[in-house]
Symmetry: C2
Subunit: 257 residues, 2 copies
């Protein structure tokens, strides 16, 4: 009797609350998103299963549309595998979609576009229940000025002033396609889409634009900071808790968060 | 020169997100609400300051109206002390109100009434961002049946079927003044007020009433469970994450959450 032991490559869109994770990437002795997923897959598949990812997120950063991929031998339907994963995974990780992909699919190298959201609570009153999910700023932010300053960042530039390349010696040229600020109730949302991001780039951009919103910089200063190509000129790195990886886009199919 | 070193007794209404605390009560080597507050007060007052509390909450339980008290020598205004506390406290604890009280005030023994809320997400879709703040139940709950069952619990009874007295040998008679269930969007809220609660009493009542909502018990079974006065007859203890201490009431003045 022949048993089909052919492995398939799977791609999943996952959501996680970053609060209780020491970031995405596996590390010894601490709880990580990668570690939790690999442990779950290894339990279900009964063989160690390595997972690759579109973009590693730092401790405290959340995701609604992170993308991962892994190889597995599974005899049942893809939807059964999704249900099996969700029943074994801890409750702060959830598999939203699961599809099979070509064997050489890399969630990181195949991605052509990433979108992040940053959430600010801008209010005179404070709720502890928003602390792990937003950045609290008491002073009133000037949204019009932050929007104006943001226009200087749209396009293809060397973003060295806002972050470091993930690889040593890598270049810092990235293309920002869109920035959108909007307010709802006492919250301000910052949505940004780029081909890729430097390390801490979203949080450094937000930290700098917030200085504009507080009238401590003028919009044109952001253009000057960009042109300086030196990390020391940007504002403070905004806290991890307000950041969400929303969506990763691929050329032939789109996986949306 | 005479320096006024008279100590005052302070009473505070505090809010906390229970997610990253190992409960209220101080324990060695882990992060607790009491430990964080005493550390903050000790830093501000430069002398060890013990805090007493209305009701200890378990790991993962939240509070919007917990009440604490402590003695301190403070030369500035009460509002200055509130601001000092909030600037030193970690961001998942917040002092909402601070007043001076009589020297013998006990937040626990003076309390005449406590209110808790329990939050259930009752939906076919699942969000990781609600996991630390609610109990997720996929199957549709019958709210009318849960309301009907709740009426059997209003009044003064021996609630041994729903919890243990906090002291060994203590009696289990408590008076429930009100239970209110209401639904909003995909959430169901359970509000309960009693003179005092047994250990795990709210979570055991919710766990039992949920069985009614799932048609696994009928409303009259709740009356029978109550009369049995034995913890083994009640339903499973609902998870800590859905529970909020909302309000503690005192005879001469009300501190509301």
């Amino acid at each position: 009797m022949l048993i089909n032991l052919e492995s398939e490559r799977y791609c999943a869109v996952i959501e996680y609350d970053g609060t209780l994770f020491h970031g995405y990437q596996i590390q010894p002795d601490v709880r990580t998103v990668q570690g939790s997923i690999e442990k779950t897959l290894t339990k279900i598949m009964k063989v160690f299963t390595r997972v690759s990812v579109a973009g590693r997120t730092d401790a405290g950063v959340h995701a609604t549309g992170q993308v991962i991929a892994f190889d597995a031998v599974w005899r049942h339907s893809t939807d059964d595998l999704r249900r099996a994963l969700n029943s074994v995974l801890p409750h702060d990780i959830f598999v939203k979609k699961l599809v099979t992909v070509l064997p050489d699919f890399s969630p990181r190298y195949a991605a052509i576009q990433r979108s992040y959201r940053y959430v600010i609570v801008n209010d005179t009153s404070f709720s502890v229940f928003e602390r792990f999910y937003s950045h609290y700023i008491r002073s009133k932010l000037n949204l019009a000025l932050m929007r104006e300053a943001s226009t200087h960042l749209i396009g293809t530039y060397d973003f060295s002033s806002f972050g470091k390349p993930p690889q040593i010696g890598g270049h810092a040229v990235r293309r920002i396609m869109a920035i959108n600020w909007f307010a709802k109730n006492n919250k301000i949302f910052f949505d940004i889409t780029a081909n890729a991001f430097l390390y801490h780039m979203v949080r450094n951009i937000v930290g700098t634009l917030v200085l504009v919103g507080l009238n401590r910089l003028i919009p044109d200063d952001v253009r000057k900071i960009l042109l300086a190509k030196d990390l020391k000129y940007s504002g403070p790195t905004a806290p991890a808790q307000g950041l969400y990886l929303m969506k990763v886009v691929y050329p032939n199919f789109i996986i949306s968060g």
